[in-house]
Symmetry: D2
Subunit: 375 residues, 4 copies
């Protein structure tokens, strides 16, 4: 199951320290303009080694298009993308190969397959998410050009710190995808101290899609929110997903939560743009919890493959807060879900067309769980 | 997409007020003992009309086995189950058919399909979940008999109220699936007041699976936690899903979160029994947020199919807290995911067998997000 | 795998002598007018007990629509259809349950599942094909109304007898779906003698679809002809499938086989309307081989479940030529494939629209393998 | 739909004259020994440029393993294989890009996608089948080592010529995969004359699998024979597929066709090793019809993208009989189907184990349709 999507299907392959990573995009509509350099932007946003707050590994992440594009445009046949790994450090893997690190997939891969590639975490490394971001470049383009859908995200929490303000215009200007520029120095200090301590911390990412028309998604098991939940939970280190108000809904009253309507538009968006598994035409809002990285230079109790207790110390290059680089990954997964659902909707309901009345999105769209107005 | 699962595939059909609901279970292993009366237990746990705290609709929920069972045992061919709807009240649907209720799928179905069955919410009604529970009876039995896996759940929050204690033995003895018997009177009073007010409230459900062997699940997109997230989010009214510590992980340090190991077992279970998308052998723990029901007799602002503003009042029979009956549904979805992943694991890794060392589950398994020990 | 199709998905269930057979159609476009009585026509064409040349079993085949249709029109939710079995004769199954009949699935089911439902062949009975025909009624209607596609078929061989003429207008007027009215008396005599002898014979069915636009189908593994091949081979007793000239192509020269084009249209149709897995806009032509029924009152050597040799005599009601009733089944499978591919094409290429130049189908379309003109 | 298989899933990519072709094998069991050089054997059997009877294009077909293999063994993660195209001649594609060649996919790709890669046939070229053969190397190894299954094939007809004898031991010793060494000179002469004439001819390939245990395959839509039919029909230029006696069954009597059983084994194999869609334990036999190549230097009538009539002459390197190289491709597809069905069987019926009685395959297994004994 290394394929994501029903109709816009992305199959990824590759290990962290293997020769290459790559993906095959099948079911891609023809006629999308795409070139190798189009991937650079989002890949750089996701990459390590750009600031001192992320892992020191530096990959050039140069994409080679192997198929499916002719004269700068997709042809409808599989688009294969390849990135060679260049900074996979050779080192003594013998010790690593014999240890199960606490909080890592070492033990579970071992139990599942009876064998594992220990080099840099092998397939369980976040390196795999590079290809999700690459594939989503195509999806984002189609969504924007064909439907005017814009997908974006920001960090919404690091450890105990939450944004004091929401300003989309500053998100791309700091290393933390943080929506409040005034807090960036505080985050710098916080991360410097954390890195020095040798510990790590969790984070929360919020992603939104604006411009999604009503009608995307499917009832019951193919719900748009169910697909988003699976997509986000499939990202390394994710432990929770919310749609709209999420867990805040538990303590809400129905009169507060239900999004009322007027001819001028929806009056709130507690639902996060999805009702009955189908988009309402409002902002799609998802919030994602990332656990703190388990790879630490502070020793932890683990076991080896003989069942003997070992003290595990991780000396490699790792992120003190894996959530920092996760914003483009969450965006990518949301874009892949929307692209797939758009095609699925067209397949079944292509004859339905635009149905009246179309209720405008309304003013209160929400920037994070719980802030979508008074209902 | 009314089919759930890759190998143990459950396809459900039926509308709330249509002639019947049903399901087809395909890919079911042969040799599972099953009879029509085996479904009664879990269906009764999920049913409305049993206490004053749930909807007054009373369905007998009598299951007819149409196929796939011979002489009391599954044969490997599709198991079809049918339940006739008996308490679908005939009433004037004209008004309902013209209104979009706030917080409901009326508008999104309309936008998607250009047509909708307005009777009792049609396909978007929670009545559909009856068949999930029925199908999961087969899965639960196989999981328990073949692998010793036990799936169970309890309510973990209603509105602002959380359990003061965790006692599995009392969960089935009260109408709220509540793990603290002492709080039940408080909940009765709370719900009576709520029902009288005409409003509704959200809830949180915790489900666990004990006895899952290590190795179930798949890396990347078929992760066990990703499947659980999709499964839970596919239930009506769900707005959030957590695995293990969930959103509490965001503020944790890596040293606190990573579950250390000893030869005697894992020392904590912040991961909720899943690492890298694969089961660790510890308790699987998921927590699910339900929004408050939007069907209220308190008027709300809606629109009609001509785009005119209307005041919507829901006069039918509805749950003031839909989460109360959700415990068996969450259990069902967890069982369906585990059954499917067990078969998928056997397909790919059936030759791997039991791999040494097997780390015991350990003492600290957690009853809810955040309480899994000191790490 | 009791589901057929990727997007227009038909899941069937039910055993020959169980309480009922049925199907669930998922992914059905909304807005298709359908009523219970619409199924009667094709079901009667497929049914046994209508003439002395087919099995004496007489089922009323009354379809009940359980879901997915509201006020006479599909709603986009699953359409569930149910037919109660009424003429499943109670008899002593003990002997049958212990014997493996030669040429039957008794032994293979036993080996696969370790258990089998012996009543009337259980799931391996051709009774299952009833639901394929029922589901295809919906597909045929959509194909005809939305795209002008007409699917039809005829018998093209019984034993050694082949049609002397091809006249579509007489096919529905005789019990053999035979395109030459003059031969019908000969066929009657032939079948009467065969039935008297206790033996059975094979048959060939030709099915065609006219009006399919160019562009349906997918390269590589989702080829339109590959889907048709699987669909036909999935019918009970089928042993061969041809597209266009089929096996006659083996001895042809390339200059004879390749279908040349002119502005007025294609000059021949040896390809059977498919090139590179994608429709050309010409007639789709498939030819299907049915083996002779293995259920015979003439004794055959079999084994019992203890491995002992037994003489098997089948005394039930059976078809001396199962291929006679197969024409509507082959039509049904072709319609289901086309419907599914139409939706898949729309999903990926919905923006492509009509592409110039569109080559007309041309005059020589072929009625059977090898007769598509001079090329 | 560039993915083949449900559980052992092969996704291929790449165009004939693009930079590379490749595949990703997902769901591969762990622990299969595989190295880059293991692919050379079967790839050479399929390759062009080895004799004067096939296309002159010469590719080294050097496989690079990009992922999924660690220390010489599969790990359970996706196995990605890459082959760089080296002999994709640069030439003037302008003319080709504007013409629709008769008998080719040029027109259908154009109609489907509105765009096409004209270089060497792009994705519709038989070059894609290289990766099927490569992927099947892994499947063949697992089938042989895990289950003792051996898959092999031979050419069974070229034009009007059929083998006079069946000797498996000579098949790999001649350029035609021909089972009668004495006829090879005749075939050489035949092909030399054909090549000189500028025309092409069709062929028939027979593939068999010995050692398949009873029980593989699934009733109804996942039938083993249905999967084989789709697999074969998905190969370029295939127009027909038979299982066992295939079309010869049409004229047979039931008493002749049904394979009787004795304690010593089956007495014939007209079924081709499959009953009710499930393997019987006998030889699986499939026969496949290939049409004559449409790429000819003899002019044919075509159209250009403006709808104008053109005379098409193909000057590139092409096979005068594409069926000659098709034997390893048909073997590959049969191996992929069996591998997939083996995993599917294990998933659902892994607890069933070996069921008594197991009937031996028996003596009469058949080398081609119609020769499986007297019944």
């Amino acid at each position: 199951m290394n394929t994501f999507g029903q109709l816009f299907r992305v199959t990824t392959f590759g290990e962290s320290h293997g020769p290459a990573i790559g993906c095959v995009i099948d079911g891609c509509p023809p006629g999308i303009a795409i070139a190798a350099e189009d991937f650079a932007g989002d890949l750089a946003r996701r990459a390590t080694g750009r600031t001192r707050h992320t892992s020191a590994r530096h990959e050039s992440d140069t994409v080679e298009i192997l198929s499916g594009v002719y004269e700068g445009s997709t042809t409808g046949t599989p688009v294969a993308l390849l990135i060679r790994n260049t900074d996979a450090r050779s080192k003594d893997y013998d010790r690593i190969a014999r240890q199960f690190r606490p909080g890592h997939a070492d033990y579970t891969y071992w139990q599942k397959y009876g064998v594992r590639d220990p080099r840099g975490g092998g397939r369980s490394s976040a390196r795999e998410t590079t290809m999700r971001v690459a594939a989503a470049v195509v999806a984002k383009r189609w969504l924007r050009e064909r439907h005017g859908v814009v997908v974006r995200g920001h960090l919404a929490q690091i450890g105990e710190i939450v944004p004091s303000a929401h300003d989309w215009s500053v998100v791309e200007d700091n290393a933390f995808f943080w929506p409040d520029a005034a807090q960036v120095p505080e985050l710098e200090t916080y991360m410097d101290a954390l890195r020095k301590s040798g510990d790590s911390v969790g984070a929360r990412v919020t992603v939104v899609a604006d411009g999604v028309p009503p009608g995307w998604g499917e009832p019951v098991y193919g719900k748009l929110d169910a697909d988003i939940a699976a997509a986000m939970m499939s990202i390394n280190a994710v432990k929770g997903v919310e749609i709209g108000d999420g867990f805040a809904s538990v303590a809400q009253r129905g009169t507060a939560h239900r999004d009322e309507m007027s001819a001028g538009g929806f009056l709130s968006n507690h639902a996060g743009g999805i009702l009955g598994g189908i988009s309402t035409g409002q902002r799609i809002l998802a919030s994602v919890a990332f656990k703190p990285t388990s790879s630490l230079r502070l020793p932890g109790r683990g076991l080896d493959i003989d069942g003997e207790a070992v003290e595990v110390v991780t000396t490699g290059r790792h992120d003190p807060c894996v959530g920092i680089r996760a914003t483009p990954i969450c965006e990518a997964m949301l874009a892949l879900v929307l692209m797939d659902q758009a095609l699925r909707h067209r397949a079944q309901c292509g004859d339905v067309g635009e149905v009246a009345p179309r209720i405008p999105a309304g003013a209160a769209q929400g920037e994070s769980p719980g802030d979508a107005g008074d209902g």
